[in-house]
Structures are given as structure tokens and as C-alpha cells.
Symmetry: C2
Subunit: 337 residues, 2 copies
Amino acid sequence: MVTLAEVAQHAGVSASTVSYVLSGKRSISASTRERVEQSIRELGYHPNAGARALASSRSNIIALMIPLRTDMYVPVMMEIAIAVATTARTHGYDVLLLTGEEGPDAVRRVTGSGLADAMIVMDVELEDERLPLLRGTDRPSVLIGLPADTTGLTCVDLDWSATGALCVEHLATLGHRDIAVIGEAPAVYERHTGFAERTLDGLRSRARELGLKVLHRACEGGFDAMAAILARILDERPGTTGFVVQNESAVEPLLALLRQQGRAVPEDISVVAICPEQVAVQASVRLTSVAVPAQEMGRRAIEHLVTKLDGHARDEVVLLAPELTVRASSGPAPSAP
Amino acid sequence: MVTLAEVAQHAGVSASTVSYVLSGKRSISASTRERVEQSIRELGYHPNAGARALASSRSNIIALMIPLRTDMYVPVMMEIAIAVATTARTHGYDVLLLTGEEGPDAVRRVTGSGLADAMIVMDVELEDERLPLLRGTDRPSVLIGLPADTTGLTCVDLDWSATGALCVEHLATLGHRDIAVIGEAPAVYERHTGFAERTLDGLRSRARELGLKVLHRACEGGFDAMAAILARILDERPGTTGFVVQNESAVEPLLALLRQQGRAVPEDISVVAICPEQVAVQASVRLTSVAVPAQEMGRRAIEHLVTKLDGHARDEVVLLAPELTVRASSGPAPSAP
DNA sequence: GTGAAAGCGCTAACAG
DNA sequence: CTGTTAGCGCTTTCAC
């Protein structure tokens, strides 16, 4: 294993000079720098991560806590994780992958041991057990998601409430008066993951303002679950002409069922989805949808953390504005017979 | 920050004793151990990761390289990643998330810096650039996937060839003679990711043995792509009664299209999928399928690595036997009219 | 069964 | 612009 001392010797300079060439923290003459860099290349030197972390009390690692469960939004999680990892690299950081399994203990362990300089927490619940720990540590953190109380925290999330409102507005503009919402699995609501409830709030309050009727049903993914729920909805509210779907694994089943029942989309029924672009585009009907900006959330989270680590940055709640893309699944409400 | 020295002082013992209590590498009297553990708890001590890594030249971190692209098998990747992370924790390791983006450089960086003690490499191509580096380092590694030459490497993978064969056998047993294979996106084949080609090999050679006809078509995901391909297949081979699908995002479109065309599954057409259990169960027709054992692959990879790190373990290729579960999408071939 | 002490490889004052 | 030096917190001989 090549050490900094060996590089120094090879280049005929002191250890600190090599260190400074690497960090750029003080000016080095062009010729010295050249020689050092040459030696580094020749010897194939890589600074030892442990030694560096010990001496500088910086690991250059950012921890990412992802949910253990995969009952929702798997592609979104994955996209965020990848965006986090690649963005982190552009800033010289690596990413440590933690699952929610360990819970608050993971936070203690990682911050306590100095394993990571900062952390990103996903799948935040309204009253999350990890929040007090995050507030109580000096290590920066960013939540992807929005808890009930954001005091002393930095959060990045899609503005779910505005997302819900946007879906309703779109349908209202098209003349729909009676709307059904297909939501996430019941467990997601029970867990009080903020996003699902916020979406519903935004949706309902805008509907009230616009005088629309809204019926919400949680839905496990899959064809059978969707079939049962659709039957109940059309039974309770036969006049329903608009659907808002916030559940990837319910989208295609819903489309298949409507087709099966001879209800044309968008002529008879309009569907607006809240999902990643890819799902919207690949569906059997190209879906009018509000995209979940997974990459941007991951990128923003890292960028905020890096700013914090580089010194100064206040806590902040960043709500990304939703954007609705009109595709082939929504159209004017059918006129009453 | 609490240090080992402080714990030692608090407990009235030497630093080395505390260290040995932590590592269990030499026997400690019950009373001393008790006192030390008490101090650790009271002071809230967490060993510093950097110092530990430096002194022991062990970071207790395992690197996981996942593909950057998300053009295939996202849920599978995610499941593997989560299984890797949780299994690693049970052995005292953390997981560093690397994307394929950096390519071979990531391997150099991570092994050279001692950031990770070992690594798991996913999405292996037949002639992968990273292989020479992995062979040339003393740090253990496990591939999830199978390259062309496995000399000096440890690999864990589903036996894709047997998987293909199994699908054919199932359909043959049911009396199908004419089979179409819906594969991954063309890019996956061009990239020479082993699994897709191996599946095809297994499928074709078993078909030859059994005297079945096989037609293979690569397929971008989504409804439109699937529609185009299905039309071509039924045009070229109108007698096709069995489908093998190895592409998550083609499954539901295929089912929808068949339904649309009035072809009943499984009365007229049988479908066998190669996909995660969840997809098979949630589809609009419960799918006869061969599961991709994502969790097991992740778990096995870690366990092999830990064994290697703990001393001795030779290189080895582990091919997991495929298991086919019969569900509602396959049945006897329709008798000729 | 326990202590003392020598590093691990690097960073960051301090000194010139 | 460059060198000298004192640790960072832990592991691990060596000694008792």
C-alpha cells in the first residue's frame, strides 16, 4: 500500500506539501505540484480513507436512509437513491446506504461514530422518532418528505397538497363534477407518511372550493384489489367521471378494468395519475399525470447538504411545485344524457 | 465527543482493556467487563469509525455497485440492495452505494483508499471492464451475475439457462408447440448482460430437444412497443399458443392486448413470466412464473463475502435453481380445430 | 487478567 | 512557497 510519505519521498518534498497538493488548501508552485502529481500517478497512490477521516474528522460520506418496506413507490425510491449517489460523487462524497430497519439507532450509530458527515432521511412520518435525534446533533441532515413539525429541520419534497389541488383543477376545468381518488395501500395512511395525507387534503379542499364531490379509497396494489374498489365506487357514485390515482400498481389494473367494462378513456372516464413519468408514458393509455420529481429531490437534498457542510446554510423547507402534463387519459366530461 | 480514553478513565481501567471489551479478542473478568459496559452506556460512547479503520485497516464497509440505468428490473435491483444492506448489518457491516457511472475507477478508488473491505458488483457484462481489477486486488468481491470467464471470481446468480429451459418444459408439458419469447429491451442484449442471453440459450436448446418452435423478440417496455411486437409475432407465427415474458414492463400490456383481441388466457394462450413474485401475483391474471430470487442473491452475496473476510473461502460460482410456480396464466394448449 | 506504549496515515497548526 | 511536528482515536504487540 502506497502512503503519502512514500509519495513525498519519491517527489522529494515533505508530507505536508503532498497533502496540500491534494487538498488545494494552500498555494503550491507549479513545478512542485507537477512533480507531486507525477509521483502520485507513478506510484498509484490513493489517500487512505480512515486516516483522512481521523485526522480531519470528515469522512466524506453522506448517509442515506431508505425505507425497508417496498409497498410503495419503489421506482421513485430507486431514482432518488441513484440521483443522490451520483450527485454526491460530483461533490466528492460517497453514500452509505441505511435501511429504515435500525430506526433511530442508525442515526445514533452513524452520527456517533463519525461514519457519515451528514444524512438524508427518506420516508419521513409525521411524528418521526428520528427527528429529535436529528435536531439534537450538529451533523447536517435533509429530510425527503415533510413531518408535522419542521422546526430546526431542512426538508425537500414535492408539494403534495398543491399536487392534489392541481389534479382536481384539471378535472374541474374539463367539466367533471364527481371524482374518485384511488390512493395508496391502507398501511401507508395508517403509518402517517405525510405525502399521502397531504395530497388528500389538497385535493379535498380545492374540490370543496370548486364544488366538486370527492370519494377517496385506499387501495392495495394489484388487479383484484382494484376490481373490488372500482365496483364499490361505481356502485356508491355511479356519476363518477374522473379518477385521480396515486398508486402505481393500481394504474394499469384500473385501465384494464375500465376497458373491460366498456368505459372508454377519456371519452367516458378521465384518469389523472400521480406517478413517475415513465409509468405515465408506458401505460396502455398515455396518462395525464403529475410527475414525482425523484431525481430533482435527490439532487436538491445533496446540494443543500453540501452547502451546509461547506459552512453556512439555514434550515429551509423546499416544496417543489407540481407540474401536470396533459396526455391521452383526460378529456371533457361526458355531457349528461 | 466521547473517546475510548474517557471511557477507560471513567471505568478506572486502561484504554486497551476497553478496546478488548469491545472486540472480545481477549478474556476479561466479569466485573471489569461489567464496569466498562456501564461506563460506555453512561457516557454514550460510540467508537470512532475513522480511527478504528486506520488502526485495524478494516472499515467494516462493503461497497455495492448498482447499475446507473434503470431500463430494467428496478424492483429487483432495489430488493437486492435492501437485502444486501440488511444482511450486511447483521454481520456488523455497512454498505456503501456506488453507481456504475464511475465504472472501473470506482473499483480503484474504493479498494485503493481502503474505504471498503470488499465489494459486490451487480449488472455484470460478459466482458466486464471491472473484472481484471477485481481479480488483481486482494480485497474480496462477489459478482451478482455471470461474466464469460469466471476464473478467480465468485459469482452468485439465478441459473438463467435453467430458467429458460424450465419455462419451455412447462409449456411443452401442456402441449404447446409454438412459443414466442418477449425479451428485454434491445439495449440489454447489445450490452451483453449475461442473463438475457443465457435465458435465451437455455430456452432455445431445450426447445430444440423437445421439438418446439421458438421465436424471440426484444421489447422496449410499454403498451405501444408490445402492441407492435405482438402484431408481428401473430402475423409471422399465427399458431403461437405460448408466451414466455422476460420483461416486467411488457407483462401487463401483453395481457391487456390479448384480452382486447379476444384471446383468453389461459384457454387460448398461455403466458409464463420471469419476474419477481409480486409482479406475478398482482398482474391482472395471476401469472405462472419463475421468480427472480432477489433477496436470496443479496443475502448470499454478503454471506460469501463475510466468510471470505473472516479468513478462508475459495472462489465459487453459485447458481440458484429456478422454481416455477403454476398460477392462472398457463393451461393446456388448445386442440387444433 | 490487565497495562503501557508504539504506531496506523493523514491533516493542520506553527515556523520559517 | 515549503518543511516540521503534534496529534486524531483506536488496535495490538509486548510486558507483567
